[in-house]
């Protein structure tokens, strides 16, 4: 069963891995993905993440369930933050544990592609006096065709 959290607090990769792994000696491969707030132009003040409480958790659990059916995972973790974040802050963490590297890489990659196009989160950027909702990318939809 995947562990899902939707939270405003930051997360700690080391301790999340330790919790998932425990003393399971079948684990040979651990893949983590961390998404962070970019500020390529150097003008971003903050980013606010809105979400749909109730559906968000359900949708993340659904996606993680699909990953666990498709690959032989020994652990799966999804943490997504909401609220106001600063440039460089962590947004999302996905971890997949498996015996071999292929399953761990594929599951983490799959989880991110599906999360990007179906988890009900919306980003708003604060730049100077302006506030802009981030536009969805078509390539996030086409990325799903890989799976």
């Amino acid at each position: 069963m995947a562990l899902i959290s939707v939270q405003s607090e930051d997360f700690d990769i080391n301790s999340e891995i330790a919790t998932l792994k425990g003393d399971n000696k079948d684990v040979g491969a651990i893949v983590t993905f961390t998404g962070t707030v970019r500020d390529i132009g150097g003008t971003l003040q903050s980013m606010t993440l809105e979400h749909y409480p109730g559906m968000t958790e359900k949708e993340l659990e659904r996606i993680a369930g699909v990953a666990e059916e498709r690959w032989p995972l020994l652990g799966c973790r999804v943490i997504h933050r909401f609220g106001t974040l600063a440039p460089g802050d962590n947004i999302v963490l996905v971890i997949a544990l498996s015996t071999h590297r292929e399953a761990a890489f594929k599951a983490a990659d799959f989880l991110m592609d599906y999360l990007k196009s179906s988890a009900p989160f919306w980003k708003k950027e604060q730049i100077g006096e302006d506030e802009n909702w981030v536009q969805a990318k078509e390539k996030d939809e086409t990325a799903l065709k890989r799976w």
Binding site: G35, L49, E50, H51, Y52, G54, M55, K58, E59, H80, I91, V92, M112, L115, K116, S117, S118, A119, P120, F121, W122, K123, K124, W133, V134, Q135, A136
Partner: protein, 83 residues
């Protein structure tokens, strides 16, 4: 039915949710969007470009052809941008 709005659709309509008794002519998500668009200019603007209007019924993504029932929780929002 309880209608929830998110992101710029919420801001454009000016409220995060509203309650509605389902009119008999409203059978599908599309019917509901048409009905809501007639409520105010803000609704019409927010829901005008249907390709940017995503809908979840009872917290599950659906397409605009899906049926809606009184008592449903309907969420209306733009394409998601998390991750």
């Amino acid at each position: 039915m309880n209608i929830k709005y998110f992101s710029w659709i919420r801001e454009s309509i000016g409220k995060s949710d509203e309650n509605l008794t389902k009119p008999d002519v409203v059978v599908s998500v599309k019917d509901l969007l048409d009905h809501l668009s007639a409520l105010s200019e803000q609704h019409a603007t927010a829901l005008g470009e249907r390709v940017f209007v995503k809908v979840a019924v009872n917290q599950v993504h659906t397409d605009h052809g899906a049926p809606v029932n009184d008592g449903d929780e309907i969420a209306i929002f733009p394409p998601v941008t998390g991750g």
